[in-house]
């Protein structure tokens, strides 16, 4: 407990978003949008022309910024960079996979549930040790 790494506490952390236009527009209406001095936004709109590289770069950027506490990512977008999302292991920012208009939420693909489903699999700890 004494040597537990500390979570960076913050009073005004941002919510970043990587999603389709309607989802982004809706959350911008709710006041989540941020544009900084360098004209960089805390969101990336994903459409048919957005490349996987652009999504990866945005994900890496949002997960390394200190002032971002939560990253919302549409699940179908997360599936495009699944390896990156599943290998992410920091507590902050928290990655939340959300549904989109055309792709409903699928718990089998959720990275958080994938981490904990091990407890429910038929492969027990004992078999792992064999």
């Amino acid at each position: 407990m004494a040597n537990k790494p500390q979570i960076p506490t913050s009073n005004s952390a941002l919510i970043a978003m990587i999603a389709d236009e309607d989802t982004i527009t809706g959350f911008l209406l709710a006041g989540v949008g941020n544009v900084d001095l360098r004209r960089k936004t805390n969101y990336l709109i994903v459409d048919s022309k957005t490349t996987v590289k652009a999504i990866e770069d945005a994900f890496k950027e949002f997960t390394t910024k200190e002032d971002i506490a939560i990253v919302l990512i549409s699940q179908y977008v997360a599936n495009m960079i699944r390896f990156l999302v599943d290998s992410y292991n920091k507590p902050i920012p928290a990655i939340l996979e959300i549904p989109s208009k055309e792709h409903p939420y699928d718990p089998t693909h959720d990275s958080v549930l994938s981490r904990v489903k091990y407890l429910f699999s038929s492969e027990s700890v004992a078999s792992e040790r064999r």
């Binding site: 040597n3 005004s12 809706g26 959300i98």
Partner: protein, 253 residues
């Protein structure tokens, strides 16, 4: 004969104590498993709720687009001028009992600060914890904070609360919130469809649900780590005392 009875009684007492300790441990482990399952259930239920709230928001957005025109309801209208977020988060660390090995289970706790208004005189925010159910509740607690008069020295300064200054024209909390809401809507024009206002409320509700999901997620990962630690501990105990069954399960004798 007397000594034999004494020894037997002693052994029985020791066995009883061991059984009591073992029962306590089992109860504790069961409690952790229950906590993990409860948090997982909450996570899935909240995800369901989020899906229906978002669906409602998308429908309302589509209705607004239909009545106002597609070119008037698009995120392209948000220009790239300096524009700080008016809805932010507060992050705190909870003192959990999670093990140190897994960095994902540090149990951060998120609180939403909605419609953070900044002006030369006043900074108003409405804080929503994970327990607040109704976003339309106008009687919820509000905080008034004062800010300095500096004009955007940098991003973090702009969002941080500064020293108090005397107010020029105090407005009530709800007026401030309505002002910020209108400001957010004004990006789409002076006259907006009522459906757009409804969409705004739906997405605000979705935001609150997302904060609850984030907090439940922390709890779930922490509980999972504790259960896993207990499982490994039980396995090691059985393995060392060679009490493993053919199917890999721990046999209790």
């Amino acid at each position: 004969m007397r000594n034999k009875t004494k020894n037997q009684n002693k052994k029985e007492k020791e066995k009883k104590n061991e059984k009591e300790i073992s029962d306590e441990c089992t109860k504790e482990e069961d409690g952790k498993v229950l906590q993990f399952l409860d948090s997982m259930d909450s996570y899935l239920t909240l995800m369901d709720s989020l899906s229906s709230t978002l669906r409602q928001g998308w429908i309302e957005l589509a209705s607004a687009r239909y009545s106002m025109g597609a070119s008037r309801v698009t995120s392209a209208l948000y220009d790239l001028k300096l524009h700080p977020a008016v809805t932010t988060l507060q992050v705190r660390q909870l003192d959990g009992e999670s093990p140190r090995q897994d960095p994902m289970v540090e149990e951060p706790h998120f609180t939403l600060s909605r419609w953070l208004y900044s002006s030369e005189d006043y900074c108003y925010s409405r804080e929503t914890g994970s327990d607040e159910a109704d976003p339309k509740n106008k009687n919820s607690s509000s905080l008034l904070r004062h800010r300095g008069t500096s004009q955007y020295p940098d991003d973090k300064e702009f969002r941080r609360k500064a020293s108090p200054v005397s107010p020029r024209s105090p407005l009530t909390g709800d007026d401030q919130v309505q002002k910020e809401r209108s400001k957010s809507l004004s990006v789409f024009g002076k006259l907006v469809s009522p459906k757009l206002r409804e969409a705004q409320v739906s997405f605000e509700t979705a935001l609150e649900t997302l904060i609850k999901i984030a907090n439940v997620r922390s709890l779930m990962l922490s509980a999972h780590a504790q259960v896993q630690q207990d499982l490994h501990g039980t396995f090691d105990l059985c393995y060392n005392s060679r009490k493993i069954g053919k199917d890999g399960s721990c046999k209790h004798y």
